[in-house]
Assembly symmetry: C2
Homo-oligomer: 550 residues x 2
């Protein structure tokens, strides 16, 4: 579609200047294109998970040119093309039947607000390019801090807008939030002392030498997010110094084992730098016993970080926030607003109990971030950053605490409903119960369930293992096929359930955050999976055969 | 404004579900709000740098509540409020007279495209939540790689879409890009070897022990960006191991001195891990002698990274790309598309010469990023990320190489024009010549210029120093006053010009990237600064007095 008044970016100075100014007439190309995009998008998004299932290798053909084209193009031509090549082959992450990952439908008002945010193009690294966005971001951090730590009025009056202190930091996502928290923990532990100028100045090897530690370590559940390993690599600590602690049957970290491990490390002169508690494991949605971890952190005199990237939003529910009891004792907490707070991608946060904590990573520069300024950039890992805080601010105000209460409660209760459906269905097996709104399960024909139960009872490890491997294949087959059918999507992961002798076990994983997901959709997902299973010619027949013979 | 059909997010399940669905009628609240926002925004943005100059402490009053409100609010009430409290007090970064930082006007088409991007809410960490966005991002990285390295067809056919390899990584900005590059350099240097499992596994202290280095260091110009120091802190290397090398008079790193320093370090058994070349210093826009640095890196057998966050866009100019000669020899290059490529905030990139390089930081997880998948998240510092690559893709196609050629050339030539104006004006002094489109200068009354020149000639250090300090005060006074007047904005920084005996010297800093900035605006800026200077009662009178007496 080339509209009459489309403004071509011809390679002339005049036409170029025009693409940098906002068109004046309401019926301009801008509005036409925008309307067109919105309509197509709504149409596309209404239909399915992926409008057209096309193999990735074919999609790649549309993106194979590696040379920047010389000639400018009409905006309308370009948008026509990407509607076909890109949008039609992107993933409908907000579809009510897309229940496999931590994406959801978005409140409709975030779209115009996002456009405004992009148009204002503020840079939050410094006041000079953000002005009122800086106090707004500090307010959002204050609100999230209050949600976790609930300090009194005078605390927030003193610290929320105070230069050189911060109640938290915005960042692109939970990974950067976790890195920031553990960077602070490391620098805090190995700070300047006597002639030693601090790890930030002299580095880790000299810091260990000065403090007389053989090494430093981080303790975290075996279900901890992969970003913790990435952090240890990045910070120069090394992945092997992330000590993975086993979980109990409910996927919560075993604090007794963690305490034993800490003692062993201490006797080897390895200092525990931080304990990371998980509040909402990525795979199963379980919450570590945070209060017990806080106590252990005090015993060990180490930093206590809680990775609540996913589960932190549940603090917005008065009914269920007790599930995260103990989080208020954490030194730092990660929460992603782009997960269950219904904000678009790119809104991570880390909150600090002590407003002075972030000074462990403070840095300054002459042209910005001068000492004493209120520039947010002096205590963040990232430099230039967009004003995403505005979208969190908008959601907190427009949805409000009461609105979030309903959204979170419904989400948790929908997960319980789905768990019941799975338990009641004779051919499905619930693997992990939903503590928040994540659960895992498998398609296991009734006769196979019985045969495995019998085998477990008589201690037939080989039989259980064989069945488990076949079920892994079947689970993978169903999940891939379901995705390709494009009606609905669940993800899959590998965990180590007690029933399957703690062997790696492939399971379906479901995240029930989308308010538009109905009970009917959930029942349909099971029916669809059950049907797909019958198409498998590789694993199911062998399973049925095996379990009949036994 | 509360429109009749506004959809209130009452705390009821029904009303909540409605805010998650796109309104069906064209005259819906959504369109009304959107139109309203656009109009107000256009009105506000048309006028001035900051619509209303209000002290930050007063703005903070509007953002002092620290409790998340319980009651939901009307979308229209909320937007009314933030138009007044936030938008009216944000910074008009795209104003043609806002020439102080690296922001510019944006092409109009990025606004509707941004809204579409937000609406699609893809997560680029993995194919399952991004599909076609993944090949698109790989294509953009391929195009940028080709812009820098210009490899042949078969190179891009082989690598651009290859799983487990990458030509680069998208990230939120230049800081994360620099961190990623140096993280890779560190891990590459201290990789697994014999019984040593690699720094990523065992950490920096054991890596140094294994390789027998006393320490590792990074060499960079004294004009290097502050993110390099932050990186050294984060990576556990320590800021003191960033060896700051003096620049020659033109703010380019002194390669002879760098080579001498490297020799000294080698004799102390300190291994140079990387040389960082700066292609567009943040303060003065100068480019290090990249080819010479590449040669030195080869001599030292170390990683060569180029921080071209700002200057990299100049590669898009066939006329001026020679200024960056040698960049094609870099192992890694940082470029920010949200700087001179006219993309909104949040589009940083790092490019790798060798597609295998990023494997030094590869990581995997069970629920995503499985080995062999094309998930982009396995080789990035960040985890979940939005589809910003789409906006870079759009600009590259719609503006095209020919369009960028004009934009970049005009920008560089405008800077030369402004430099001429400063030189011709009797009361201004050009401090650094624009190599790209950044320059620094000062207001120095003609009589003062003469007196300082005389003092320099007779070696009167004390007189020069005294004048310089007074000029620092005057520069700061003018810059702050100009910002507060809200007509135009230049930034200020501190550099060490030869003329001022290499002492810290406060200067105006101007970035001429906005295509809408006219020659008239530039002349007006000088006139305004000249007028403001006369208002100063603290520094100017003393300067004039001092220089008259002498």
């Amino acid at each position: 579609m080339t509209t009459k008044n489309d403004r071509k970016a011809q390679a002339s100075e005049d036409s170029l200047l025009r693409i940098f100014t906002v068109p004046e007439d309401a019926e301009s190309t801008l509005s036409i294109i925008e309307q067109k995009l919105s309509e197509d998008l709504a149409g596309f998004l209404g239909k399915s998970i992926a409008a057209l299932e096309k193999p990735l290798s074919l999609i790649e053909q549309d993106f194979r040119t590696f040379q920047i084209p010389d000639a400018p193009r009409f905006v309308s031509d370009y948008t026509d093309e990407i509607m076909q090549n890109l949008v039609a082959h992107s993933v409908h992450t907000s579809a009510p039947s897309f229940i496999g990952h931590m994406t959801s439908a978005l409140p409709y008002f975030v779209l115009p607000l996002s456009k405004m945010m992009v148009g204002l193009n503020q840079n939050l690294v410094k006041i000079e390019t953000s002005k009122a966005f800086t106090p707004l971001e500090r307010q959002v951090l204050g609100m999230m801090h209050h949600l976790i730590y609930g300090q009194n009025d005078s605390f927030y009056e003193q610290w929320m807008h105070s230069a050189n202190y911060s109640l938290g930091a915005f960042c692109s996502g939970g990974t950067v939030a976790n890195i920031t928290a553990l960077w602070i923990a490391r620098n805090q532990l190995l700070k300047a002392d006597g002639h030693f100028k601090g790890i930030n100045r002299e580095g880790l090897p000299k810091a260990l030498k000065h403090y007389g530690f053989e090494d430093i370590a981080i303790l975290v559940s075996e279900r901890g997010h992969y970003s913790i390993g990435k952090t240890a690599d990045l910070l120069g600590i090394g992945r092997d110094n992330i000590i993975s602690i086993p979980t109990t049957a409910d996927n919560k970290v075993d604090v007794t084992k963690m305490r034993q491990t800490a003692k062993q490390l201490a006797s080897d002169n390895i200092k525990v730098m931080a304990i990371v508690g998980v509040a909402g494991t990525t795979e199963t949605g379980n919450i570590d016993p945070l209060a017990e971890l806080a106590e252990l952190a005090r015993e060990l005199d180490c930093h206590f970080h809680v990775d609540a990237a996913w589960g932190g939003a549940s603090l917005l529910s008065n009914k269920y926030r007790y599930l995260l009891d103990g989080i208020e004792q954490a030194d730092s907490v990660t929460i992603d607003a782009h997960k269950q707070m219904y904000v678009p991608m790119g809104a991570g946060m880390v909150l600090f109990k002590d407003p002075e904590l972030a000074n462990a990573i403070a840095h300054h520069a002459e042209y910005i971030l001068r000492v004493g300024s209120k520039d947010l950039g002096s205590q963040t890992l990232e430099g230039s950053r967009p004003g995403m805080a505005m979208l969190v601010h908008a959601c907190l105000q427009i949805i409000g605490g009461d609105g979030y209460e309903i959204l979170i409660n419904n989400s948790l209760e929908k997960a319980r409903y789905f768990a019941d459906c799975i338990v009641e269905h004779r051919d499905f097996e619930l693997i992990t119960h939903p503590e928040l709104c994540i659960l895992t399960y498998r398609f296991v024909p009734h006769s196979v369930q019985q045969a495995i139960d019998d085998a477990v009872e008589r201690g037939d490890v080989k039989f259980v293992t064989t069945c488990n491997e076949l079920l892994d294949g079947l689970t993978q087959f169903i999940q891939k096929h379901q995705r390709e059918q494009g009606k609905s999507f669940v993800s899959r992961t590998r965990i180590k359930p007690a029933k399957y002798l703690r062997k790696d076990t492939t399971v379906f994983r479901v995240v029930l955050a989308n308010p538009l997901t109905t009970e009917t959709i959930l029942k349909d997902v099971l029916a669809e999976q059950s049907d797909i299973a019958q198409l498998d010619k590789q694993y199911l027949p062998r399973l049925l055969e095996l379990c009949k013979v036994t």
